[in-house]
Amino acid sequence: MDIFLTLLSLLDSTVRLATPLLLAALAGFYSERAGVVDIGLEGKMLVAAFAAAATAAIHGSAWLGLGAGILASVILALLHGFACITHKGNQVVSGVALNIVALGLTAVLGNAWFEMGGRTPNLPADARFGEIILPLAEALRGVPLLGPLYFELISGHNILVYLALAIVPLTWWIAYRTRFGLRLRAVGENPAAVDTAGISVTRLRYQAVLIAGLLCGIAGAYLSTAQGAGFQANMTAGKGFLALAALILGKWKPVPTLFACLLFAFADALQTRLQGVALPGIGEVPVQLIEALPYLLTVLLLAGFVGKAIPPKASGRPYVKDR
């Protein structure tokens, strides 16, 4: 029973940690499936986290914060589109540039507005997305096995967690069952085919990039107004890159990407619990090795078990009409 509860708490933590990765990875899904490489997930999340926290701090509303976060992220996404789609710039360079701008700008504006070293004030409970206790969770708590499972793991997350999980099937449906999805996948594989079918490549790619902005906006808002309670300089700390890794590990497909995110999050949750624990037969493992676990795992998976990840054929290349 004790092990069961430990496992539940581990999984609970996994869900919380997976949410921002998942949202960002799905953002990457839309962008890269449309043929626009997005190294800038990190930066978009960061500006969104800042805008959301700043707005929530000033107006006291988590929802307004979410809106502001999305807006900020979308603006960055549009810039990416402007550079890569309109001006056919290098997509990786644009992503790197926007990450750096986001890193600096959030700190500068944070300093200028709040004078707290780039932080925003701590958000009170009602300016954050609180935990939602699902119906009957308390009542069913006593039921063996299922009760704790429902109470600990399924219930008690904030709305954005449920939203992120809902976006996975939605994304699958959009990508594989709608006109937009068909075109989106096509434009990432062979933009010329889309163009000759009478569809605007530019418009489609902008749409994809905008959706990526939207999702990164939610991811950022989650970091600062749901999981955390305020913004810190560089609070994404590499999550955007990890999300990108998850997308690649998931071979640019929504459901496998979900599992990749859960895997990374699980490794992360596990590492906080493995620190200082003596493993049977090995003894106490250095903290740093455990900290590196998610990254080592990624490398091992990429190298060994997932095989060659084949990106959408046209990703990374600006579309130039050619023979």
């Binding site: 996948r185 096509a186 079918a197």
Partner: protein, 523 residues
């Protein structure tokens, strides 16, 4: 030449008037005026780079013209995007297919014509409509197969079906037969015939004058972006067309003396290649090439010829069998790569020159040493001696009449024919004992074809062994002393030059020994 009747304008399905188009310094179309009648097949010929594809792409809205106007059924129209063209009933099958390879056939057909934001219901409707079209035109395609799994011939049918599904009254086909086997060509022509009977207009671009003679009603000739001639097909012949294309008298035949074969320089015994997906792409290949002979390999592209060339040239591993090169046996485990091959006197002109034989981004002199960059003669100590490399390139360019003769020009800026001449020059320069050549004249104009053919024959006459792969039966017949036919990864037959006829080879190419070609898809 027959002048167009001073028109009741609706007599024309499509009229192009004074179309002009430039790509930077290249003037691709100059003041082109062409009219196409309904219920007809109109041929369009011209050397590479004459501007045929550009012109058709303009009609299809893929490129925008710099000047001129387009009339459809007598009405002036504005075609800015393919969407406009599709709406006006114009469809196009591009030289390079515009298919999404990771999609199924049905998804490709739907793209851009989905009939609603959600695919489900539209999909069912489309399936029914497409099946009706398939029956109407005898165009069979497996709707649920992935495009990447289909042979090119079927992919092309998908392209045609796509255009018809989108309601094309005018169908443009850009070099549709380049990749088809003779039976597939026949089948295509039957489809085109049926389209004509239904009153539709077909615009057919091809380099094969024989096809023009066989199926078109009228034919226009483009040269350097201009219309230089227009014929009623029945009133002209191949020689006249060729002369119009090139702008001077041309000869279509190759002179060569009978071969005097020497010892076997290159042979393969039971070579098998299994690719990453587990498909056997080369099955029990056995062949030998003697000094002083040209062995031709006929076959539709993609039937194992590339693999054969790659194995023999050391680019690709094989899974079993032996290759014997000037007496040395090479097995699957022997270290043998392209550099070893060159060292042993084997040179290779690959089928796909842009993909393999040159590097587009490099200046010509760098492409001119690709594969030979290790040569001591090109280096001075640790460094490559660019002066010598450039001098070498200049001399290669002179020998093979590469134009422009500028060794510093970026490789991609040379026309296809000139790139090919550069590659031929490079590979023949070291007097290799064995030369593997794939599609030596694909995308090359008539003058250069003759030049390259002469070079190959003279190399043979100097006692070298030549293995020639070509999808052009005419070329195989004209050059080879012995002919092997490949189908589906196997060498299905051998004919001597004397016994070979187009008919016999064509049948063998389809993988059939005696019976005439049958239609059908083998998925």
């Amino acid at each position: 030449m027959s002048a167009a009747p001073p028109s009741v304008s609706s007599a024309w399905a499509v009229e192009l008037v004074g179309i002009d188009k430039r790509f930077g310094p290249v003037h691709a179309n100059r003041d082109v005026t062409l009219r196409f009648a309904p219920a007809s097949i109109h041929g369009l010929v011209g050397e590479n780079g004459a501007g045929k594809s550009t012109l058709m792409s303009i009609l299809y809205g893929f490129y925008e013209a710099d000047g001129g106007e387009i009339l459809v059924r007598g009405k002036q129209v504005n075609i800015r995007t393919p969407q406009d063209a599709i709406r006006l009933g114009i469809g196009m099958v591009h030289q390079h297919f515009m298919l999404v390879e990771t999609f199924t056939v049905l998804e490709n057909l739907l793209l851009g014509h989905e009939g609603g934001p959600v695919l489900g219901p539209a999909m069912a409707r489309a399936r029914a409509e497409v099946q009706a079209l398939e029956q109407q035109f005898g165009l069979e395609v497996p709707l649920d197969a992935l495009v990447s799994d289909l042979p090119v011939g079927v992919q092309q049918r998908v392209e045609i079906l796509k255009a018809l599904y989108r309601g094309a009254e005018v169908l443009i086909l850009d070099e549709p037969t380049a990749v088809l086997s003779p039976p597939e060509v026949e089948q295509l022509f039957r489809i085109l015939e049926r389209l004509r009977q239904q009153g539709r207009t077909v615009l057919l671009i091809t380099h094969k004058l024989k096809e023009i003679m066989a199926i078109t009603d009228r034919v226009s000739v483009l040269r350097r972006g201009q219309v230089v001639a227009e014929f009623v097909t029945k009133e002209t012949d191949r020689q006249a067309l060729a002369d119009a294309m090139v702008g001077r008298k041309t000869s279509l035949a190759v002179d060569k003396a009978p071969a005097t074969p020497g010892p076997v320089l290159l042979s393969a015994q039971n070579v098998n290649v299994i690719d990453a997906r587990g498909v056997t792409t080369l099955k029990d290949a056995c062949l030998s090439v003697r000094a002083g002979e040209i062995v031709g390999i006929a076959g539709v592209a993609g039937n194992g010829q590339s693999e054969l060339l790659e194995v023999l040239s050391g680019m690709c591993r094989f899974d079993s069998g032996t290759v014997t090169l000037k007496g040395d046996e090479i097995g699957p485990a022997t270290k043998y790569d392209a550099a070893d091959a060159r060292r042993r006197g084997l040179a290779h002109v690959p089928e796909d020159r842009l993909k393999l034989a040159v590097i587009k981004e490099f200046p010509a002199h760098e492409s001119a040493i690709l594969g030979y960059h290790q040569d001591k003669g090109l280096s001075k100590g640790w460094r490559l001696d660019w002066k010598r490399v450039v001098a070498k390139t200049v001399s290669l360019m002179e020998q093979f009449d590469v134009r422009p003769g500028n060794p510093n020009l970026r490789t991609s800026l040379f026309s296809g024919g000139n790139q090919q001449k550069l590659v031929m020059a490079r590979e023949m320069d070291r007097e290799p004992d064995i030369l593997l050549v794939g599609q030596p004249t694909r995308g090359v104009d008539i003058g250069a074809i003759a030049f390259i053919h002469r070079q190959l024959v003279s190399l043979r006459d100097r006692g070298k062994a030549i293995l020639l792969v070509s999808a052009e039966l005419d070329e195989i017949l004209a050059l080879s002393d012995r002919i092997l036919v490949m189908c589906d990864g196997e060498i299905v037959g051998e004919l001597s030059a004397a016994e070979a006829t187009e008919g016999r080879i064509g049948t063998m190419m389809a993988g059939i020994k005696d019976t005439p070609a049958v239609e059908g898809v083998s998925a």
